[in-house]
Assembly symmetry: C2
Homo-oligomer: 383 residues x 2
């Protein structure tokens, strides 16, 4: 085995002082407690020479702190997307000298309970409860004992826990703006969700919020969504069939795909119909999945800021730990992290001059409106 670790007692002996004195010097309280310069120097020298490092387990026992935070997620560690969340959290924690415990629950409540217990048995200073995709979660009551933050998730019941989430509404606005700024005003279709706020996959917070943003930004520009196809699950094959279906009856000039996997299917459907991206159809999407930069042409997409989410969660958690120490009570705020646009090659300027578009729109040759003012989509109106 290895040689025994150097302890505070070793340092004290080497410096010819008591453990107390050594402890005071090394924790920086020497000045305050009137330790002489001479002794201070001796202790510091001894610690340096012996390469003393305090045993955090011991400190933890005495002070109740472990310089460790627990990162519990449903399955975040596994997905590349969300792996970046861990990376962000890891680095933010490291900046403060903290380590991360990682745990996955697989959505199993019992496992989650066990995991939270195991972490509290190890005296974690705080917890991050992360979700792989944005949604509402039931907060286990075990977390009340320790400062905690929700990451990429909203509490199902009202709790005083802060939450950190991507700013999906603003992302929706960004996506719309990308098309508007390229001059698109007509033939903009949605693939994956919409046109109504209820036309979304089950439990998808992101879908609703993106949709709101899209409709706001388009609405402010006086542009209507020409139509939409909802996908039950946001996988490439659904993007493929939905887009194929669309192309049989419509001639889109631009697609807003609700994520990159759907966009991948859309690319293929367009290819099947002999349409070129972006010359014939511009595409903007969400997530910035790694695949987005592999597709040809490279996909313009509004990125999920996983890394930033992870960092932010740790920042918020430390604030939470701080105020827990202070004894303050405060309600859980919701923090939104901006989603940046990754401009790549899938959006081209609309070649149709603005005035022509406007005239066409006035004549109502596309983007017909139903009685309720909602775009008519293949006979279905928003519910």
């Amino acid at each position: 085995m290895s040689p025994r670790r150097v302890t505070l007692a070793d340092v004290a002996k080497a410096a010819g002082v008591s453990r107390t004195t050594a402890s005071l010097v090394l924790s920086g309280r020497g000045r305050e407690l009137r330790i002489s310069q001479d002794v201070e120097q001796r202790v510091l020298r001894a610690a340096e020479e012996l390469q003393y490092r305090p045993n955090i387990v011991s400190v933890g026992l005495r002070t109740g702190t472990s310089r460790t935070i627990g990162f519990v997620s449903d399955t975040v560690a596994t997905s590349r997307l969300a792996g970046d969340m861990i990376k962000g959290a890891l680095e933010a924690a490291r900046d403060r000298g903290f380590m991360l415990f990682i745990g996955e629950t697989e959505g199993d409540a019992e496992l989650e309970r066990l995991l939270l217990q195991a972490m509290q048995d190890r005296q974690v200073d705080g917890l991050i409860l992360a979700s792989m995709f944005t949604r509402t979660i039931k907060v286990p009551k075990a977390v009340t004992a320790v400062p905690a933050v929700l990451l990429n998730a909203l509490p199902k019941q009202p709790t005083p826990l802060p939450a950190v989430l991507p700013d999906e509404v603003e992302a929706g606005r960004s996506a719309a703006r990308v098309l508007l700024e390229a001059g698109h005003r007509d033939g903009i279709y949605l693939i994956g969700a919409g046109p109504g706020l209820r036309d979304v996959p089950r439990e998808s917070v992101a879908a609703v919020e993106r949709l709101i943003g899209i409709r706001e930004a388009l609405g402010e520009a006086g542009v209507e969504v020409a139509g939409a196809r909802t996908c039950p699950d946001w996988q490439p094959e659904h993007g493929l069939t939905a887009t194929r279906d669309l192309l049989r009856t419509a001639q889109p000039r631009a697609l807003i795909c609700f994520n990159d996997r759907i966009a991948m299917g859309a690319y293929q459907a367009l290819d099947d119909f002999g349409l070129k991206v972006p010359a014939d159809v511009s595409i903007v999407s969400f997530d910035d999945h790694p695949i987005a930069s592999w597709m040809r042409p490279k996909l313009t997409t509004v990125a999920l800021p996983h890394y930033d989410l992870g960092r932010k969660a740790v920042d918020v958690l430390f604030a939470e730990i701080e105020r827990d120490r202070g004894g303050d009570e405060r309600a859980g705020e919701v923090h939104r992290v901006p989603m940046p646009v990754c401009v790549r090659d899938s959006v081209a300027p609309s070649d149709e001059p603005y005035l022509v578009q406007a005239a066409r729109q006035a004549r109502g040759s596309t983007g017909k409106l139903s009685a309720e003012g909602q775009p008519v989509v293949d006979g279905e109106t928003e519910g």
Copy 2:
């Protein structure tokens, strides 16, 4: 704040016994140390009623164990591929009641040193040193103090550390076998590396080993590689250009791509030349990247068993911890984890009857051999 945790002293008081007795009963040594049935029952009941859980930090201080292992990698947590490695490790550790510290070094030696220190300060029971892609690494000397295992990596200097790696040679054989069993004997080309063992990307252990396996399996069947294109980096664009280059001069019947990203590029190149997968050209690849099941047709590929690698690393680490306790010395073994074939839709049977192939081969119309018995590839022979 929360109510104080229940301690052993609380349990002892409730049961009307000393802390010692409570400890003995709860650690299962009651029988052995002649504690009466009555007292045993009282302690167990008290612990149950108070919901006692031992404080692992305290146990750690006394026993020097923390029921925790450290998982240090260059950047493993971030990549989806390798995220599964963590998942496997996580679950294997959990099965034994252990938690995982995660750390990323980004290849920075100083950061690595700090991280290993931070973990040892927290009394980890063992370390897993993981690499994102298979390669040789310099083992930091800080790890000698604690049991450790290399994951997806080989030590640069000889060390007594065990290593866990994917069985790439056998994977190469598997890939070749997939084609052979589909009846392919001619026009098999490699994209990404080869044909010689030195025609590989820098530092790529996987390339060399896959190549060995491929050549062995083909050789045993009396089949020669028809040609190869080496890629400096295994990205889709390189697969695209390499395959395009190949198609200008050759008519492959099957491609062995050295990973799925290359295969993705190959698909596109074949499409450019109007060739269909698998009708015109069969493709088999390596890694089972998520993209493999999104491609159309779905890609047949030999999977990197990330999950199993993670599990295996933990198993080997526990064996290592065990023998460290026993005081045994043993040299670091290399453990190989099988890479399973994912049969999907990119390989079709060769439509050429076996006898015709054999006859053609006998006439030497393809697969010419150089003097050294190596296939001639566009004027370059193996070095």
